[in-house]
């Protein structure tokens, strides 16, 4: 760390294969795709005009953001108590909870998504149980719609929210909460005015990660959603594979990339500002 430039130089050699791989199999195809989006069927911005001009595609864009936002909010609400629990548990138990969280991440995505299908469908476990208990008499529409997509994606995104939250929570001295209580804060005030601001970097990191991952998600919306909840990644697949309209598909993929990069840039900026603010406060 004393000589960052030197460290960067010496570190460069071993990184070359990874850079080459990314350049060859990511950067080059992305640039080719971008070129297609402005050259097919002819040179110009007609694909972008079509993308933003049509009510259908605008709806897909809106839906993509709606799902990503819903998933982020629900994931945060569910992840926070788990992360907190992991922080206050004694070491061995925390390790077990940690392992459970990671285990869910390592299980095959398709298998987990199909499992939700089995649980959520009209003739699925949840509906059958509720009907036999007499809670409902008609099956609830839990799948092939926004509900199904949100449930499935929140479940898959949970570890990506729990881990950053936990990482931040762990660094907070529990004495701070006791101090807040001693100063007369009730539990809500201690949570809202002391804990949340301190955890904010974790919330931002987890939230943006989940939001960005959700934007480009494909498998879960494809399996648990209906055709009216189509997201951008599905639209891209459809344009490329079914309609063979690679110009428009390229434009859609590029829009997704730009939005993702913009949010990433925003994240870096926000975290920087935060760090400055905290340092200023200290």
């Amino acid at each position: 760390m004393t000589n960052p430039a030197g460290a960067a130089r010496t570190g460069l050699g071993p990184a070359v294969p990874a850079f080459a791989l990314l350049l060859l199999f990511f950067v080059v195809p992305v640039v080719m795709l971008l070129l297609r989006s402005v050259t097919e069927p002819e040179f110009g911005l007609q694909n972008y005009a079509a993308l933003f001009g049509s009510g259908t595609y605008a709806r897909v864009l809106f839906n993509t953001f709606l799902v990503a936002a819903l998933v982020t909010v629900f994931t945060l609400v569910l992840a926070f108590p788990v992360a907190w629990f992991m922080t206050v548990l004694p070491g061995r138990w925390a390790t077990i909870v940690f392992a459970i969280v990671l285990l869910s991440m390592w299980t095959n995505l398709l298998a987990r998504t199909y499992a939700w299908l089995v649980l959520l469908q009209r003739t699925g476990v949840i509906n059958k149980t509720l009907i036999s208990l007499g809670v409902i008499d008609q099956p609830l529409p839990l799948v092939n719609n926004l509900t199904g997509v949100t449930i499935g994606m929140v479940y898959i995104m949970l570890p990506f929210m729990i881990l950053p939250l936990h990482a931040t929570l762990r660094t907070i001295d529990p004495a701070i909460l006791r101090a807040a209580a001693l100063c007369g804060a009730n539990r809500w005030q201690a949570f809202r005015r002391v804990l949340v601001p301190l955890v904010m970097p974790g919330i931002m990191a987890g939230g943006l990660m989940v939001f960005v991952m959700s934007l480009g998600y494909f498998v879960t919306p494809a399996l648990l959603g209906g055709t009216s909840n189509m997201m951008l990644a599905q639209l891209i697949a459809q344009l490329v594979q079914s309609l063979l309209n690679w110009g428009l598909g390229g434009a859609a993929a590029f829009v997704l990339l730009v939005v993702t990069l913009a949010i990433y840039a925003l994240q870096i900026r926000l975290l920087d500002t935060r760090r400055l603010a905290t340092q200023g406060a200290v």
Binding site: F25, T56, A233, Q241, N245
Partner: protein
């Protein structure tokens, strides 16, 4: 599932271009029981006869096929595709012409052969229903699929823009079969709107079977072979052949296929009477070779669309090839609403 993301389509085209060994060729189809049957009925006898090993790949992916041909890196020799796609792909220059010096054109049902494609198998869209759900009155006509009062419950239709669903909507709305084409799209979509919220779309044959057998969607539009297979597995399902709609899969050779000669010989075997009969027995799809039926027992013949020609309607693949893109735009826009 036939979707993947764009990057992988391009990447896969590059990877699939790894050339097969000499005396190997690659056959690509839709996977599952259908491709298993194709392997047994066609590839095995072809390899015995020619010594050429047939490697199986799949599922068929039109994006990949186009990427291969455009990049000049074709990894597939014979591909099973939908008929209307084949006509369009031939117009776009993506396919090799079939060598009818090798393939016997006269043995193939003329409905299912063109200069660039030979029939793979043909099938009908039929009405399938779960007989546990509809014990008293069973659905028999396309109009019944639109009758939410007589037949409540979710109904399932083919998800992709393809010949079938729009025709069904028009027939259900009272259009005479001979007046179907050109399709009145406004009328078809208006009719579909009346049941749109009750539709679950199936995107693969396996999914359609699961929906039907579980009762998740107790009635709908199915490939006849898939309903027959569900019935054979012991599920209580029924079938109505009224106004069954024929469509076909065809075999094509992508332009620039590395083993074109072997591919043509493979097509000759695949479309011959006996291999077609063997495939039909295993899959409950219909043979496209006009002599195959004589090689099959009466009971199997009864499950084929050939035995239900009374009110049968041929979907117009030429019309679809010409209007494929335009209809697809509208179809997916409507679905997404």
């Amino acid at each position: 599932m036939r979707q993947l993301l764009i990057g992988s389509a391009i990447l896969a085209a590059a990877l699939a271009a790894v050339p097969a060994k000499a005396q190997d060729m690659v056959f690509t189809s839709w996977g599952g029981t259908t491709q298993d049957a194709q392997k047994q009925a066609w590839a095995v006898p072809f390899t015995e006869e020619s010594g050429v090993n047939v490697l199986m790949d799949g599922p068929t992916d039109y994006g990949k096929l186009k990427a291969m041909v455009e990049s000049g890196n074709v990894g597939w020799d014979v591909v099973d595709v939908e008929y209307d796609f084949a006509i369009k792909a031939a117009q776009d220059g993506l396919l090799e012409a079939i060598d009818f010096a090798v393939v016997d054109r006269d043995a193939i049902d003329p409905r299912f052969v063109t200069d660039h494609a030979v029939g793979s198998f043909y099938y009908s869209f039929v009405i399938g229903y779960n007989a546990d759900t509809y014990a008293d009155t069973t659905p028999s006509s396309w109009a019944d699929l639109f009758d939410l009062e007589a037949f409540p419950g979710k109904r399932t239709f083919y998800k992709w823009s393809a010949p079938g669903v729009l025709e069904i909507a028009l027939l259900a709305d009272g259009v005479a079969p001979e007046e179907l084409y050109p399709l009145d799209l406004d009328r078809a979509f208006a009719k579909l709107d009346t049941i749109k919220s009750e539709i679950i779309w199936w995107d693969s044959g396996a999914q359609s079977q699961q929906l039907l057998a579980s009762g998740e969607a107790p009635l709908g539009q199915f490939w006849n072979g898939r309903v027959a297979a569900v019935a054979q597995s012991g599920a209580n399902v029924g079938i109505s052949w009224e106004q069954n709609l024929t469509a076909a899969d065809v075999l094509v050779v992508p332009k620039g296929a590395p083993n074109k000669d072997a591919a043509m010989k493979f097509l000759a075997v695949a479309t011959a009477a006996e291999p077609q009969a063997e495939f039909a027995k295993a899959s409950a799809y219909a043979p496209i070779n006009v002599d195959s039926k004589d090689l099959m027992d009466a009971e199997t013949v009864e499950t084929l669309p050939d035995s239900h020609t009374e009110s049968q309607i041929d979907l117009d693949m030429q019309y679809w090839a010409e209007n494929r893109d335009e209809i697809a735009d509208r179809w997916y826009a409507w679905q997404a609403q």
